[in-house]
């Protein structure tokens, strides 16, 4: 665990001393800020809710997540530092979790900045705290899943562009897969809906904390981080 924390710290530090974290945060708060203000300006008495910007923040995270993760392993592989890392006294899973956690800290920091909007909601309105809490829980889980997808694709190739494009492909598929449910019906439709990252996010926005949605996002993270670890281990034997 000490080694995981050390890698996490190193990755977080690397992100925050380079422009990466700030560019990600800038784009994130700019877009969410735009959606927030837009919703507040839409009518004379707008609703005091985080839904207008948190709902769209998933889309922003799906765009920014792969940009943050595409370099994590692909760049190391391309520069040849991955071998160095693999031969150091850390286990593969420790590397994977450390890098994931480092990226997660950046995204959570960007999400935390939007708490300013929550403060404004409480200052000028009377929002329901429950849905705000669940929306942010959901956003953090969604971010974790998006980053896990990005980290996995980054482990597959040394080309960052390919890693990012693969991530976008997987995230897009997981975001629209439920739309196909209307055309199949029955158990396959249920399965398609259960695989959708968007469907699992809806309840968080409504203020409902459903264990199956939490389990879904955690499962995506666990499975993909495990895939990433095995991919790294396979690379060691080749």
């Amino acid at each position: 665990m000490r080694r995981v924390l050390a890698i996490t710290y190193r990755e977080t530090q690397a992100n925050f001393v380079s422009p990466i974290a700030y560019v990600i945060a800038l784009v994130f708060v700019s877009l969410t800020g735009y959606f927030f203000v837009d919703a507040m300006s839409a009518s004379a008495f707008p609703e005091a809710t985080v839904e207008p910007y948190v709902g769209r923040a998933t889309f922003i995270l799906a765009l920014l997540g792969p940009l943050l993760t595409m370099r994590l392993l692909a760049e190391e592989r391309k520069l040849g530092t991955l071998e160095l890392l693999m031969t150091s006294p850390v286990r593969d899973w420790e590397v994977v979790i450390g890098k994931f956690a480092g990226a997660f800290v950046v995204v959570i920091s960007a999400i935390a900045l939007t708490s300013v909007y929550v403060g404004l909601l409480f200052l000028y309105g009377n929002p329901d705290p429950g849905p705000i809490f669940t929306a942010y829980i959901g956003l953090a889980l969604f971010a974790g899943a998006a980053l896990a997808v990005g980290l996995f694709t980054s482990s597959l190739t040394s080309n960052q562009i390919i890693a990012a494009v693969l991530s976008y492909g997987i995230l897009a598929l997981l975001s629209v897969i439920h739309l196909a449910a209307d055309h199949v019906g029955g158990a396959p439709a249920t399965l398609l809906r259960e695989l959708s990252m968007v469907v699992h996010f809806e309840d968080f926005l409504r203020g409902v904390l459903d264990l199956r949605h939490v389990a879904y996002y955690i499962s995506v993270v666990v499975v993909l981080l495990y895939f990433t670890t095995r991919t790294l281990e396979l690379g060691r034997w080749r």
Binding site: G125, G207, D210, R212, V223, W237
Partner: protein, 538 residues
């Protein structure tokens, strides 16, 4: 036996043998628990999943043993990776399946907006004995509907989703855009939207619910109707009052019962009008008779019919007004309740500037069954109520539950405008409403086997007039009282959850501040901080 594979006895006392035993045992116990004990299904499936996972790992490891001897190290590792990835994916899928079955949900909205009432859950889990399908007709194009229609449609779909989730697969729904598929809407006789059609294919029954602000109640009613479960009937007496029973449109109508009757229909009741003067027969299906603001005397035949109905275990809710006709006063007195003369004046608790409109808050309620969901209620021109004699002197009385009381300083005035108490005035507190369960009239002995009659009385009818019905908790108090007297356990009342529109109250200046922070200040601070870090690092 193939080379490399040992006999079963060779595994006795080894870790592998222990794991196999535990795996088989856990799988069997888990499956048996899930099959035999539905309430422990999730736990059973979890135990089964754990056992199956242990066996899968062991099987894979055993199968790979011969392979290890012949394959190259890289190939072995690839196979091992593939197996472990498949095993983990399977375990995670099982884990998710168990979680889905466990149905652990927390509704964190302030008004528990998405939590179904126990009665609804009971119907969905216990009484839904045939598959029911619902088709929601909702227009996709957000520009084609008003924000209110969109909100109502969204809530309707929320409840359909919740019904489906809780029904154990016996209820399902689909959403159809009637503008894209008008033929489907036509086939189900839907002409306005949003609306939902409930269908029981087995029984061939169908029930339509048009845009509603109380989806849970109306969906539940529709569900019960298509399942063929009967609705209770309530009859409102006509011919004894000058009040209008039909107007459901005018929200300011002072002596109109339309909104209250619509509320009863929304609570799953069949509501009918009964004129005993024309035909002194009370229908057999009457679950409750309501007498609203009677100001005409009861006749002989109709009075006899009403008394006979009550003596046979009937149920009556009387909404009285001051200056009650004597025959009505005598009717309720037979059941232990005395409607006193005059108007209740309440100097301590009244609507501002109107002492003749007593206001009842939480401290004024006495019966938790009826008033649990009511907050504040008020009663314009209230007649004082009390008991005809002490409860211990009424041997036939089963129980007597005051619904609410006026304050200690209230008194009965002979004139509505007189707010100063005279020494001759009868002092309070008075009962605002009361429910008495009596085994026969209190004025004569009756056998212990006599049926129990339920009589509810309010000293006021105005509080359920169109003008005041939806003010404060007046409607909740009235509908809860009806539910309670009707002894309704088949068709239930579920008060609509308050939909609070939590709006922002900003001046133009404050909106400018929000814009400034959201569009400029926050992004600027992040950009400045990032630039500073980059500059220093450079």
């Amino acid at each position: 036996m193939p080379p490399g594979i040992r006999g079963p006895l060779a595994y006795v006392g080894t870790l592998r043998g222990a794991l196999v035993t535990v795996g088989i045992f856990a799988s069997a116990v888990g499956l048996a628990t899930a099959a035999v004990l539905p309430e422990l299904r999730s736990l059973g499936l979890g135990i089964f999943a754990s056992g199956a996972a242990a066996l899968t790992f062991l099987a894979m490891a055993t199968l790979m043993r011969p392979y290890h001897r012949v394959a190259r190290r890289t190939q072995r590792y690839e196979l091992a990776s593939l197996v472990s990835v498949l095993a983990l994916t399977g375990i995670v899928a099982l884990f998710n399946y168990v979680i889905v079955q466990s149905d652990v949900v927390a509704d964190l909205t302030a008004s528990e907006q998405y939590t179904l009432a126990p009665q609804t859950l009971d119907t969905l889990t216990e009484r839904l004995d045939a598959p029911v399908e619902a088709t929601a007709f909702i227009v996709d194009d957000s520009n084609a509907v008003t924000p209110l229609e969109a909100l109502i449609a969204e809530r309707m779909v929320d409840y359909l989703r919740e019904f489906e989730r809780r029904s154990g697969g016996r209820f399902s729904y689909q959403v159809i855009d009637p503008e894209r598929f008008p033929d489907i809407a036509y086939s189900k006789e839907v002409t306005q939207w949003p609306s939902v059609v409930f269908e029981n294919a087995n029984a061939g029954t169908r029930q339509k619910v048009v845009a509603t602000s109380n989806p849970e109640q109306e969906f539940l009613t529709a569900l019960l109707v298509v399942l063929g479960l009967s609705q209770k009937s309530i009859y409102v007496l006509d011919g004894y009052s000058s009040w209008d029973l039909t107007d459901q449109n005018d929200p300011d109508a002072p002596q109109t019962l339309g909104f209250a009757l619509r509320g009863l229909e929304g609570d799953s009741y069949n509501v009918g009008v009964l004129n005993l003067i024309e035909d002194p027969r009370i229908p057999d299906d009457a679950s409750l008779i309501i007498a609203a603001a009677p100001d005409h005397e009861l006749g002989i035949e109709d009075g006899t019919a009403l008394n006979a109905y009550l003596e046979g275990g009937g149920r009556l809710l009387a909404l009285l007004q001051p200056d009650l006709p004597g025959s009505w006063r005598a009717l309720i007195a037979r059941w232990g309740i005395d409607a006193l003369e005059g108007y209740v004046i309440d100097p301590d608790s009244h609507v501002a500037g109107s002492e003749w409109v007593p206001l009842v808050g939480n401290e004024g309620y006495a019966s938790t069954e009826v008033t649990s969901e009511a907050s504040t209620t008020f009663f314009p021109s209230l007649a004082p109520l009390w008991v005809v004699r002490a409860p211990e002197d009424m041997p036939t009385l089963v129980d007597l539950k005051p619904i609410a009381l006026t304050s200690e300083n209230s008194f009965a005035s002979d004139r509505i405008e007189r707010v100063r108490r005279l020494s001759t005035d009868l002092g309070g507190p008075f009962m605002v409403g009361v429910i008495a369960r009596v085994r026969g009239p209190v004025d004569r002995p009756v056998p212990a086997s006599a049926p129990v009659t339920t009589v509810g009385v309010f000293g006021d009818a105005d509080f359920v007039s169109n003008r005041y019905f939806y003010a404060f908790s007046n409607s909740d108090l009235f509908l809860n009282t009806v539910n309670h007297i009707a002894g309704d356990d088949a068709l239930v009342s579920i008060r609509p959850k308050p939909t609070v529109f939590r709006e922002m109250a900003m001046t133009p200046r404050e909106l400018e501040i929000v814009r400034y922070i959201g569009w400029f200040l926050l992004p600027l601070l992040v950009a400045l901080f990032g630039s500073a870090v980059w500059w220093v690092r450079r």
